[in-house]
């Protein structure tokens, strides 16, 4: 029997993996992937907790919305990364320091 705890553990692993990717990678695309992982961990939690809602499948519905929104934000983020690349010829966030100081 797969319990809620198992979902939570998978979700926490996903979240931590995403967090680790965001902090450690030197490539903006990879960081974006890390964000997606964290978002998916949150969506997984949403679906898992949706089983205990009084209305059936409302959790899945909201998860679908969240996925669509995530796709939209990812598209926006990719567009930003493209522009950043045009501007700086790199997508390593450490080397983009024009706003600094």
């Amino acid at each position: 029997m797969i319990t809620l705890t198992d979902f939570m553990i998978v979700s926490a692993v996903l979240f931590c993996t995403g967090m680790f990717v965001i902090i450690s990678k030197k490539n903006s695309i990879q960081i974006l992937i890390g964000i997606e992982l964290m978002l998916n961990a949150a969506i997984l939690n949403l679906v898992a907790f949706g089983k205990y809602d009084r209305i059936n499948n409302s959790g899945q519905m909201f998860a679908l919305f969240a996925i669509v929104l995530a796709a939209a934000t990812t598209a926006v983020a990719l567009a930003i990364i493209l522009n950043v690349y045009k501007q700086y010829k790199t997508i390593d966030p450490d080397k983009i320091k024009q706003l600094k100081d």
Binding site: M19, I22, I23, S24, I31, P93, D94, K97, L99, K100, D101
Partner: protein, 687 residues
């Protein structure tokens, strides 16, 4: 002028003043306007010509006629009133005439002698300045001004000895003359101060006239009494010693004579005027001025020193090879005669000898100047490396320089004191009176006149040696350097005229109509202290013996130097070495006095260097040390506090800055860390 004088006297005084001031005017004109012009020689010569004419006029008016003394208030200090003025008596007009008349031929001679010298104008400036100082010295009526001109005379002598200041020897010589004269000047100054303390006046006429202040003072029970002033008698002795020191330094007497031979570094015409005829006679002149001051014992001491100087200088002159050095030592010897004559009471004869000596010694020096000049020409024409003053190089000049030869012969014979010359009159006078004096005093004193007679024969020998070596025989240069060409002669009228003039003055008619009797000179009767002679046996014996032996000695010299049939003195004997090395007096002074003074200076230098400088350096080190501490405090404590606060602020800033480094991931990481920390803390606190 304190009292009305007849017109004639005022004129005489004005003439005397003009005679004194004219050379000074020449000096000023030369110094200010003429620069390096050849005119300066003639300006000086004309000045001294007029000066000598005026002096002769003054001389004829004052001599044996009257004494003129004019004085003018100079200044008042405290209770003392000082007068300045001129005193024309027989002694001063005699010196006035002598100095200017001797200076005239020397000036004429110098215009030719110095004509190729770069310092021609400077030479005449100095010479005129010397004439002014010397003439002023003899007419001044007070001791202060006498002293001042005494110093100026010494100073101009210093300038002229060092005239060729690019020669090291000349510089050495004038330094030596200056230092030795300083010793004498200190003595004279001391004496003047003591005299003023005793008599409260500087006036020479008041002090030294017959029945004047000095004549009326007495020495009683160890006290020196004059008027109301009583002082211990030792001061009188000190005053006499002081005056003697002054005389000894100026007139080159025994302990202080060593400067005069070295003074021959100056031009020969200067040696003729200053270091033979006039300035060195200033000491004897001073003795004549202050004569009443000396008592019997002091006069005897003077006589002994004078006699010793005469003898010593004559022995030295025997072996010298430098023409001018021989003449310099003969000058010292003759000055010794004068001082001795003063000592034995032959006051008038001493001054008589001063006058005759001035003429013949000036003549000898001018002749020597011509000889040296000509030898120098030979040297330059033939590029020889010889000393033009060395008589060993000369010989046979009789035919080349006939006039010079005759002049030297006359001068030499006068110096020996043979009859028909002026030297005979004065020198025999001194010798005769020395014998009479010794007879009067006792047999032990006989040594003095005997020594003086021996000196006279030594003089005969060295003069004969000089004349024979220079003018007779063969020219030694020709035998040493066979190929040289010799074109020399007596020179122009400016050389010849002075020689002729002075030669005439060296013969007897100028001083006495009787060539054989020294007692009948007009000059002797004019000098106040003259005492008539007692007709003694010495009157006849002394001149005859002295002159005959002089002739024998001269013949002996002739045999030695010309015939060379006997060879007497080996040049290594003890006596020869003593004489040649000038009695080792210079060496003694160098070893003892100079070394002592140098050691003393070294010591004071060491003291200065080590103690005083050391103290100053110590102070400096202390200062530096304190400053070092202050600087350390400043650097490490004051600055340290500032730097520490700055460093703290910087550290805080650097720490805070790290959070703002612009790295997105780092922000996120730190945010995460903060959250974790909050959680950990919450868990810890919770539990």
């Amino acid at each position: 002028m304190n009292k009305a004088l007849p017109y004639q006297d005022i004129q005489t005084v004005c003439f005397a003043i003009a005679a004194v001031v004219l050379p000074f005017a020449a000096f000023v004109i030369n110094f200010l306007f003429l620069g390096k012009s050849k005119l300066s020689g003639w300006v000086s010569t004309v000045a001294i010509l007029v000066s000598s004419i005026l002096s002769v006029i003054v001389f004829t008016r004052v001599w044996n006629v009257q004494q003129i003394h004019v004085k003018h208030l100079w200044f008042i200090i405290g209770d003392n009133t000082l007068y300045t003025g001129i005193l024309l008596n027989n002694l001063s007009v005699l010196m006035l005439g002598l100095v200017s008349v001797i200076a005239l031929p020397v000036h004429i001679y110098s215009t030719a002698y110095m004509k190729d010298d770069a310092g021609y104008s400077r030479y005449f400036q100095y010479l005129s300045f010397f004439c002014f100082s010397m003439l002023a010295l003899v007419v001044m009526d007070n001791l202060i001004l006498l002293y001042a001109f005494w110093e100026l005379v010494g100073f101009s002598s210093y300038l002229l000895i060092g005239f060729w200041f690019d020669r090291a020897t000349a510089v050495q010589a004038n330094k030596k003359a200056f230092i030795i004269n300083r010793i004498g000047d200190i003595g004279l100054l001391t004496a003047i101060i003591i005299l003023f303390n005793q008599y409260h006046t500087f006036d020479i006429a008041q002090l030294f006239k017959d029945g004047g202040l000095i004549a009326s003072s007495t020495i009683n029970n160890g006290l020196w009494i004059s008027g109301t002033t009583l002082t211990p008698v030792v001061w009188q002795y000190i005053a006499c010693i002081g005056i003697f020191l002054g005389v000894a330094a100026k007139s080159a007497q025994f302990p202080l004579h060593t400067w005069l031979p070295d003074a021959m570094e100056g031009p020969t015409s200067v040696s003729a005027l200053i270091h033979a005829a006039t300035m060195v006679a200033a000491g004897v002149f001073l003795l004549g001025r202050v004569y009443p001051l000396f008592n019997e014992a002091e006069l005897t001491t003077l006589a002994v020193i004078g006699c010793f100087t005469a003898f010593m200088a004559a022995t030295i002159a025997l072996t010298q090879n430098d023409l001018k050095r021989i003449l310099a030592y003969s000058t010292i010897s003759q000055l010794g005669y004068m001082v001795m004559a003063m000592g034995i009471g032959a006051y008038a004869t001493s001054l008589f000898h001063l006058v005759t000596h001035a003429f013949f010694k000036c003549l000898l020096f001018l002749s020597a100047g011509i000889v040296i000049h000509q030898i120098k020409h030979i040297k330059e024409d033939n590029h020889l490396n010889i000393d033009p003053q060395d008589i060993a190089n000369m010989g046979g000049l009789r035919k080349k320089l006939p006039l010079t030869f005759i002049a030297t012969l006359i001068g030499g014979l006068a110096l020996i004191g043979l009859p028909l010359t002026s030297g005979y009159l004065s020198k025999e006078g001194i010798l005769v009176q020395a014998f009479e004096w010794a007879e009067h005093k006792g047999s032990a004193y006989m040594l003095l006149p005997v020594l003086a007679s021996i000196t006279s024969w030594l003089t005969a020998f060295y003069v004969a040696r000089l004349i024979l070596k220079v003018f007779y025989g063969d020219m030694h240069l020709l035998t040493l350097h066979p190929g040289i060409k010799i074109h020399i002669g007596d020179g122009g009228w400016r050389y010849k005229l002075p020689l002729v003039l002075l030669s005439l003055c060296c013969l007897f008619p100028l001083f006495s109509l009787n060539p054989l009797s020294h007692t009948q000179s007009w000059l002797l009767y004019g000098l106040s202290s003259y005492k008539g002679y007692t007709e003694s046996i010495f009157e006849i014996i002394v001149p005859v013996v002295v002159n005959v032996l002089s002739l024998v000695v001269m013949y002996y010299a002739y045999i030695i130097y010309i015939k060379q049939s006997i060879w007497v003195s080996s040049q290594t004997g003890l006596l020869y070495r003593i004489s040649f090395n000038e009695w080792y007096i210079d060496r003694f002074y160098n070893c003892v006095v100079v070394k002592f003074v140098l050691a003393l200076s070294d010591m004071t230098f060491w003291f200065d260097r080590k103690v005083i400088d050391g103290f100053v350096n110590l102070l400096e080190k202390i200062g530096v040390f304190i400053a070092g501490i202050a600087s350390w405090c400043d650097r490490y404590i004051v600055d340290g506090i500032l730097h520490l606060s700055a460093a703290i602020v910087q550290a805080i800033g650097g720490f805070a800055r790290r959070f703002q480094n612009g790295k997105v991931q780092y922000y996120l990481f730190s945010m995460l860390l903060a959250v974790i920390v909050v959680f950990i803390l919450k868990i810890l606190i919770w539990n």
